[in-house]
Symmetry: C2
Subunit: 108 residues, 2 copies
């Protein structure tokens, strides 16, 4: 039987900031949900693009050599592989992440 | 410069039902948005899983040999490759689709 997955139920399982929970796997990719609050560290993924979609709240992503990206609720961006970035959120914000399932959930 | 993509703006570009618009590409996958209304035809994708996430409204997906899947707003499911399915929606509903970018947007 194909299971029905409830986004809010999965989000309710998040225990701490910057620690994504898996929502669904598809074609070797994974959709995760995380709560961002405060600042994450600078990092990059050498072989994978990473998509950030703001489900609730607002985040910004500093990007090496570019202007900081500001994402409001309902907005998204794709950080291409190899690009150094540093997410942050002034208030607790729920972010959906799309990335290859082989990627470690906590980055490099 | 990495572009900011606005989900509602993309959804506003949808011109007719069952005709997805592309939202973002990532790692050879694509996120699309479509308006479902009425019944689609039975089809399957031989090599790709397909994820359906209800952004607004409600849909059901008939699945060969299984109970019909009912998805409310905020709910999702993954139809595995090779599984015949037939989506429908009683009212116009906005659905996000995640699938390999090589997949034709209108299915088989």
């Amino acid at each position: 039987m194909i299971p029905v997955i409830d986004m809010e139920e999965k989000i309710g399982n998040i225990e701490k900031t910057w620690s994504p929970v898996d929502i669904a796997y598809i074609n070797d990719q994974v959709i995760r949900a995380a709560i961002f609050h405060g600042e994450y560290h600078w990092h990059k993924h050498d072989d994978e693009d990473e998509l950030f979609l703001v489900h609730r709240g607002a985040i910004s992503i500093q990007v090496k050599g570019q202007e900081t990206i500001e994402l409001a609720q309902g907005q998204l961006c794709v950080i291409p592989k190899g690009v150094e970035h540093k997410p942050r959120a002034a208030e607790p914000s729920v972010v959906l992440l799309f990335e290859p399932s082989k990627l470690k959930s906590t980055g490099d």
